[in-house]
């Protein structure tokens, strides 16, 4: 099914998507940066977006696959519970914010605060990420194929960040840790799965919480 966003409102488009049965596919054309596309999906459907999506594409969804053939605005895949969001171009700020599960893949670069307050999802960025990637990330995995900006992993909880390129600097309570075999296996599997051939799993930097901020107040 094709839904032309130049003649259909986002509200109608989303209502149509939410009514689709499991297994269905839909294509959104002429998105022109509209916000809140494919939000709140619950079924195992596939949605392709032909062009640029605005804020929160695929946000608050579960089970669905959302493929964006373009770039996205803020919070792509925010609070995702399961399923897949894939962005062919670049993603703007707060990619995958607070996402609990599923996978968010960006084939280009991601801007500031990618994976902020992540709660269990897997976030893969083929290119570079901006400052404060993984800020307060609580659980889950972030894999960066390029370089990371300032304050990487600031105030990290239990999420783990892997960076293939350079790291400008680490945020508060983040530290570089030695790669274990399980890390290499995980990175190799994720890179293979999503075609990130430029990543050498043996040569990524693992960043995790130093856990120095875990007990700051209890007497």
């Amino acid at each position: 099914m094709d839904i032309d966003l130049s003649t259909t409102t986002v509200r109608t488009a989303n209502a149509t998507l939410r009514a689709l049965p499991p297994g269905a596919t839909a294509r959104l054309t002429n998105p022109a940066g509209r916000h809140n596309l494919a939000v709140g999906l619950t079924e195992e459907i596939t949605v392709e977006i032909d062009g640029t999506a605005g804020y929160y594409v695929g946000g608050l969804s579960k089970n669905a696959t959302v493929l964006v053939h373009g770039t996205t605005g803020w919070g792509a895949g925010e609070n995702l519970m399961s399923g897949l969001i894939r962005v062919d171009g670049d993603a703007s700020q707060s990619l995958a914010a607070s996402a609990h599960g599923g996978t968010i893949v960006v084939r280009g670069d991601a801007s500031l605060r990618a994976g902020i307050s992540l709660k269990g999802a897997t976030v893969l960025v083929a290119g570079n990420v901006g400052d404060h990637c993984g800020f307060m990330a609580q659980a889950g995995t972030i894999l960066v194929g390029g370089d990371a900006g300032r304050g990487l992993g600031d105030s990290l909880y239990e999420a783990v960040i892997y960076v293939a390129g350079r790291i400008k600097d680490l945020g508060a309570d983040a530290r570089v840790e030695e790669l274990a075999e399980s890390d290499v296996e995980l990175v190799a599997r994720l890179a293979k799965q999503h075609g990130f051939d430029h990543i050498d799993p043996e040569n990524v930097t693992r960043v995790a919480s130093a856990r120095q901020l875990y007990h700051w107040g209890t007497p």
Binding site: V10, R11, N14, A15, R18, H35, N36, V39, G40, T42, G54, Y55, Y56, G59, L60, S61, K62, W74, G75, E78, N79, M81, Q93, S94, A97, S98, H100, R113, I116, S117, K119, G120, F135, M136, Q138, A139, S155, Y157, E158, L213, Y214, H215, W216, G217, T218, P219
Partner: protein, 421 residues
Amino acid sequence: MSFDEIRERARLGRYPIRGGGARRAVPTFDDLTFLTASASRYPLEGYREHCATRTVLGAANARDPVVLEIPITIAGMSFGALSAPAKEALGRAASEVGTATTTGDGGMTPEERMSSKTLVYQCLPSRYGFNPDDLRAADAIEVVLGQGAKPGGGGMLMGQKLGPRVAAMRTLPEGIDQRSACRHPDWTGPDDLRIKIEELREATDWRVPVFVKIGATRVYHDVRLAATAGADVVVVDGMQGGTGATQDVFIEHTGIPTLAAVRLAADALADFPDVALIVSGGIRSGADVAKALALGADAVSIGMAALVALGCNDTVHDFGPASYADLGTTAGNCVACHTGGCPVGIATQSPGLQARLDPVRGAERVANYLRAITMETTMLARACGKADVHHLEPEDLVALTVEAAAMARVPLAGTEWIPGR
């Protein structure tokens, strides 16, 4: 600051943390009095003439607006700060009197969903436990920008209270001292907030109203921005507002009194007739409720008072071990919610302490309290000649102090004088 407070800081090497609200004296609703009916106004009979209390919130945008039988809701208090039986009791009490209760920083528990007829689901900066299934199970959504006890600050929950269930719901390691973000992860300014609110509406099929809660600081501008961003209801929490755990310096030295905030918020919404106003922070009596409504609120919200009705600071039982004394305090003076050692089973995650709170009997006390202050509210409204509590107006009030007159912008008693006018 007292010498004791200096010594406490000298011992801790950090800011003291506590629960409760501001304890310093600030102008309050007590500084106002009603000009009830006499020769120039006609009162309604208390025992047979009806005074409506029904309150409808969010009818403009939501398919299912929130319909309350009384204009008093239970404020957001997290499972984590409060025990599961306490949350359940608040839900039962609210349902019994036909009003709403609210989740908090940490998500929705099945107990509170089941016990609450109308449940408001908070979307906070931390997003702990926030998920689309619970979102769709909610009767309204409250995007929290801030709280009166700590406007500009994030939540905290000390390690003693991060038990296995709370930690799992928040996706945090057990027993850590939780520090939450003070900013939302995926939007920053009011233009983004508009898009965020639309997203929440989309995810819930535009079924339920969206509230925006702010701590009372630059009230006029913040309320206008929240309304412009599309809120159905703006919740303004004044500086006396309670908390489960916050730095003492935050509780005492930030924000403006609820009394001043109501009037500013009501003025800010003058151009937004579809946006409702809920006010909280230090509301205790029916007089407080009636005065807040008269100054422009559509409803009020209560936190600490509901906990006190539930048994907080109660002296009835002799608990033996784990009592107020162990927390270095006495019944009537306790603000030790942050310690997790709550002797009455309300602000704790300890199974032993929780067992001290019977949610059914606790709910009866809270429901009775809500009924009592609703009666007080309607009694005052009737005496002002109003057949609906929402007909109360600033004209019904005068101030007993110059400060209150200036803040509430009603005349000083016995004069026509409103300072600054």
